[in-house]
């Protein structure tokens, strides 16, 4: 927002830098997430929140205390927290009789709630329950979505986009091939969503590409979809709007052929002057009645001569 050109000027360089870091940017930083629990939580939820925090770790804030709010009823407190910590993703866990073991995934745009999707945990295996060697923290996971529901159902589509946003980690220009260790697999099946987390073992296959073996490391969830709050179409579109400066400008006179060879045009061809639009005058316009083409052409010639 207009934090930078606010009425009160930052007094020190440090505070100016801080405001700049919070101001909207052309290429944005990694989205950070706040992970918080509601008024009542079960052991499952607390553990799940901790595990999901460890999956997201450098770009997340874990709130240790209770926050008695209900995001689907009033999201102002969430918006306040997001402004405070500059987070645009949130994960809210709660537990009550009506909705036991409840997780709300959500994201914000311009400090206002864009999407919220409520998922109930039916089965949960924590990270520590499975005794296997884990992936190091901050590994960029490979995300796989399976099931046609993710492609057909509107809510599932939005959930997929939200989960990608939540788990994808930083955008990087290159990855170390040996470091591709972590796989998050989401399966939509029978109205449930199965989230599994695997460690990926690269085995020799005899050719360059390795053969993959997977080993479950947890956490794993069986989710059911509960309430949803999806952004309206125009707000969703507005949130996707990319700044003009990011679009790559087309360079003139450079072309590529099918093999990727680059061609540059050095010399301009001669311009076709007959197609040139010149100044039109009323008296020189073609009249409707005249159809004799030869007459017109002769006329044109006679008109051109005195000019040259």
């Amino acid at each position: 927002m207009t934090q930078l050109d606010s009425v009160i000027k930052p007094k020190t360089k440090r505070s100016k830098r801080f405001l700049e870091s919070r101001a909207p940017k052309l290429t944005e930083d990694v989205k950070s997430a706040m992970i918080m629990k509601g008024g009542n939580t079960s052991l499952t939820i607390t553990q799940a929140l901790k595990d999901l925090y460890s999956l997201r770790k450098p770009n997340a804030v874990l709130y240790k205390k209770k926050n008695i709010t209900r995001p689907f009823e009033d999201s102002t407190s969430l918006e306040f927290f997001s402004k405070k910590t500059d987070c645009s993703l949130f994960l809210f866990g709660s537990h009550n009789k009506k909705r036991p073991n409840n997780l709300i995934f959500g994201r914000l745009f311009d400090f206002h709630v864009l999407d919220m999707i409520e998922l109930g945990i039916e089965k949960y295996v924590s990270l520590s329950e499975i005794k296997a060697s884990k992936c190091p923290e901050g590994t960029k996971p490979m995300l796989v979505f399976a099931g046609e529901a993710f492609d057909t159902d509107n809510e599932h589509k939005r959930l997929k986009s939200l989960l990608i946003d939540f788990f994808r980690g930083p955008t990087v220009s290159a990855v170390r091939l040996a470091g591709l260790e972590h796989v998050l697999h989401f399966t939509a099946l029978d109205g449930k969503i199965f989230m599994r987390s695997y460690r990926c073992l690269l085995k020799k296959s005899g050719c360059r590409t390795p053969r993959i073996e997977l080993e479950e490391i947890g956490p794993s969830f069986d989710f059911v979809l509960r309430r949803t709050h999806l952004a309206s179409d125009d707000l969703y579109k507005l949130a996707h709007k990319q700044p003009k400066a990011l679009k790559v400008k087309k360079k003139k006179n450079i072309s590529h052929d099918a093999f990727g060879t680059k061609f540059g045009r050095v010399h301009m061809q001669k311009q076709d002057l007959s197609k040139l639009h010149t100044r039109k005058m009323k008296g020189l316009r073609k009249r409707k009645g005249e159809v004799v083409t030869g007459d017109i052409s002769r006329k044109r010639i006679s008109r051109k001569r005195p000019c040259s």
Binding site: T2, E28, S88, F109, F145, I164, A178
Partner: protein, 347 residues
């Protein structure tokens, strides 16, 4: 014999190749959709729920995940690689999945009043050197800030000008002037912000200035006079004082029955204006408009021309970095816009 063995060898090699590929090949009815920039794969194939129920759940999910991951890994391994510090690194393309932004894209800063004026006049920013020669200290010093060159706040002696009051404190005067400049600048900044946000700029009746002009004094008097409960209605006038100018007019109506000839003339005049097709031309306004347009064109032309070269135009004080010397005396280059303009109405 030899030919036969060659054929056999080739067949064998082919078979081996196929065997190798088998371990990494996965067959799917529909191809997966990849977004390698995000390390993301989407499997759109229908999952048979019967298979799911028959097999053990976890095993089924793991085998599904293995197949999909294998396909994703195959895709990633196709990318161009390079070696960085003993590690093989694959270059990822840009992510293609559209995801919403965190905040709306930054808006360009609205121009300040000065920037608008400078653009109209074609005034360009000039880069000043950071270091300036200090004649007293005999060294290069910063132009601004702590320990700056030619610092006029650190002088221990100020000559009292002949016209000034001898009892006036010249040091205090300087400090006061500086404070007022700062305050004025701050006011301008706030005005710019208000204008940028399209808030009505609060009417700053009269800003304090060192020397008030006659106009300003007149305005101050009229403001003071109308600032009574009756909006200045019962305010006395001094002898010889003129009526305040540019105050609101009161409507005056003609009497209902009275001067008929005058009324007739007025109506006729109005009809005359309406009848003539020619628009009434306000020459002063038109000329002003024309001149402003010319100014703008000139400025834009100059801006386009001048954008390419970055010559410094002789405002460097003395020995700059040496390079700048070339640009000195460049006043003529900046000319063209400097021609004198006659008063608006006289063209």
């Amino acid at each position: 014999m030899a030919a036969h063995s060659v054929e056999a060898l080739l067949a064998k090699a082919e078979q081996e190749e196929a065997e190798k590929l088998r371990s990494i090949a996965v067959h799917k009815e529909l191809d997966l959709e990849f977004d390698v920039g995000n390390l993301l794969a989407c499997d759109k194939n229908r999952i048979e729920s019967r298979d799911f129920r028959e097999q053990k759940k976890e095993d089924f999910l793991r085998s599904l995940a293995r197949d999909n991951t294998q396909l994703l890994i195959n895709e990633i391994w196709k990318l161009p690689t390079e070696r960085v510090e003993e590690a093989i690194v694959a270059k990822l393309p840009e992510p293609t999945t559209p995801l919403p932004r965190e905040k709306p894209p930054p808006k360009p800063k609205p121009p300040t009043k000065w920037e608008q004026f400078a653009k109209l006049k074609g005034i360009q920013k000039k880069k000043k050197t950071n270091l300036v020669w200090d004649e007293n200290a005999k060294e290069w010093r910063r132009r601004w800030g702590y320990k700056r060159a030619n610092d006029d706040t650190k002088e221990w002696l100020i000559e009292v000008p002949e016209t000034a009051d001898p009892n006036e404190d010249q040091f205090a005067k300087r400090v006061k002037a500086k404070k007022e400049r700062v305050a004025k600048n701050e006011l301008n900044r706030l005005k710019n912000i208000a204008r940028a946000q399209k808030v009505k700029v609060p009417g700053v009746g009269l800003t304090p200035t060192a020397q008030q002009s006659k106009d300003e004094l007149v305005r101050a008097v009229s403001v003071a006079k109308t600032s009574t409960a009756s909006v200045g209605r019962f305010q006395d006038r001094l002898p010889k004082e003129k009526a305040p100018k540019n105050t609101g007019k009161k409507r005056k109506f003609e009497p209902l029955i009275g001067d008929f000839s005058n009324e007739k003339q007025k109506q006729l005049e109005l009809l005359k204006v309406m009848d003539s097709k020619k628009p009434k031309l306000d020459i002063t306004k038109a000329v002003n408009k024309q001149m402003r347009e010319e100014d703008r064109e000139e400025a834009s032309a100059k801006y386009k021309k001048g954008a390419g070269k970055k010559g410094r135009k002789g405002n460097m004080s003395g020995k700059g970095k040496g390079k700048g010397g070339k640009g000195k005396g460049g006043k003529a280059a900046g000319g063209g816009g400097g021609k004198k303009r006659s008063k608006p109405g006289k063209r």
